[in-house]
Amino acid sequence: MIAIGITVALTELLGSFGLSGGLLSVITYTILAAGTFGLLSVLALFLVWWERKVAGHMQQRFGPMRNGWHGWYQTLMDGLKLLQKEDILVATRDKVVFFWAPVMCCIAAFAAYIVIPFGDGLIVADLNIGVLYIMAITTFTVIALLMAGWGSNNKYALLGGMRSAAQVVSYEVPMVASILVVVLYAGSLSTVDIVNSQSGNFLNWNIFRLPFGPIAFITFLIAAVAEANRTPFDLAEAEQELVAGFNIEYSGMKFAMFFLAEFINLFTVSAITVILFLGGWHGFAFIPTFVWFFMKTFAIVFLLIMVRWTYPRMRVDQLMEFAWKVLVPITFLNIIVAAIFKHFGWYWEL
């Protein structure tokens, strides 16, 4: 683990107060975790509102309009409402599993942000396994969904949980295969190294590395949508078939936690896309790096929101066929092509 930027600055600041050793690192990382948590919570509130506005306008309606200008604090009111709601508990639930499922979902969603650089040096810890760590920690979302499905003791919830597990396990393969193309060119798994390998001219971004870059970008984005359980891959909560899917028995704050995790996952996959393919925080010099990062990430979020409200849901068999018969061969061929181009040096460094 290499501490850089904000972590080092905070450690030095706290060190000047006379702290040292294990206590210092514990306090430093607690502050960083709290800061990241606050930022992401506000971000999730914004994303919920944004998604509802975009969905509304795409469907020839306004979306939330009542609370504030164009309903800007609608999500806040929804959150307050969910806080006051009765926490309905099914009598036949599996008590422990039912309680821990939303907690685990949230932990998995937040834990990925340890290695996401919001800007130059704005990263909690630059792990040398960076991207692999994100892939590993996000699998806990699946376990949380399975726990929710099983703990609810409801057939719809169980079906939703199982669908999501099958889906995520399948789509992880093309996702990792797409990431490998980027790792091949960066020569590192660390997110900071990957971003730095795309510095300089914007033609150095991995998406512009013809011909394999755009293909990897598209396959990664498709797999990412599937990992985030969003339409056209939202079979885990297919409303028309499963009522609400895995979260059917959840109410009040437990439901809100699933909801929060879902929107944080949306931001996570967009951020990873930006880090891997769109040059991360790099841009023109006079705009701060974190502004660039957020601009790019919000562009991808906007794209994913539009995808969600444009395409219909796939069937389960179509979903599996698409993963194993279309995405996996394409991504594997793409790796081979990328490796050949790398070997013969057929790429540019501007």
């Binding site: 294990g22 599996d94 040398n128 590993a136 376990i143 099983w150 992880e172």
Partner: protein, 200 residues
């Protein structure tokens, strides 16, 4: 008796030998306790789904120990493969089985003698490995020489050990790597063949 004294001495001193930094010691004990308790619960709990969840916790604690040993890649692979794939497939199988929430646990009825024999055998193997590697001398970054557990723990590992893993897999350990790949492929094809046979 000297053997047991050495073992106990090693167990007590192990965290100190492996982790020179003081702050990692409580983390080591926490992770070890988590691993042992959850591992114990896996084999004792009546509800098989709970066992699977605790197995995930156990495997996750092992990944944490790998991180303490500066084997980050191994930790990520552990979580990705065991938690992300194996455990999920196990839960999947549990959910699909008929006796889902059954309090009646199906075992292979091996009984106590077999369990004791296997436990003694496993412990003996591990003790043998520890004993044969006991006299390895480790030099800490500060120059302090201690008796070590294994050859690899020579203080700090290089930070780019992922690159080294990749290099060794592709050069020195090419053959085992390929053999494992072929074996996995064969078992995968076998599983598919078995599943298809049932349908027709």
């Amino acid at each position: 008796m000297e053997f047991f004294d050495k073992i106990i001495e090693l167990i007590v001193a192990a965290p100190g030998i492996i982790f020179t930094e003081l702050s990692t010691r409580p983390v080591f004990w926490l992770l070890s306790m988590m691993m042992l308790v959850s591992g114990f619960l896996v084999v004792t709990l009546k509800n098989i789904f709970h066992s699977a969840i605790y197995l995930i916790l156990c495997l996750f604690s092992v990944a944490g120990l790998f991180i303490l040993l500066q084997a980050e890649f191994l930790a990520a692979a552990q979580v990705l493969i065991y938690v992300g794939a194996v455990a999920i497939l196990m839960i999947f199988a549990i959910m699909l089985s008929t006796n889902v929430s059954g309090n009646k646990r199906m075992t292979t009825q091996n009984g106590l003698p077999v369990s004791i024999i296997s436990a003694v055998f496993a412990l003996g193997t591990i003790s043998f490995i520890i004993m044969t590697k006991l006299n390895v001398v480790i030099k800490n970054p500060e120059g302090v020489i201690t008796k070590g557990l294994w050859i690899g723990s020579k203080g700090e590992l290089p930070l780019d050990n992922i690159m080294l893993i990749g290099k060794y897999i592709m050069t020195e350990y090419m053959l085992p790597f390929e053999v494992v790949s072929v074996l996995l492929l064969a078992s995968m094809i076998g599983a598919i063949a078995l599943a298809r046979k049932e349908r027709s």
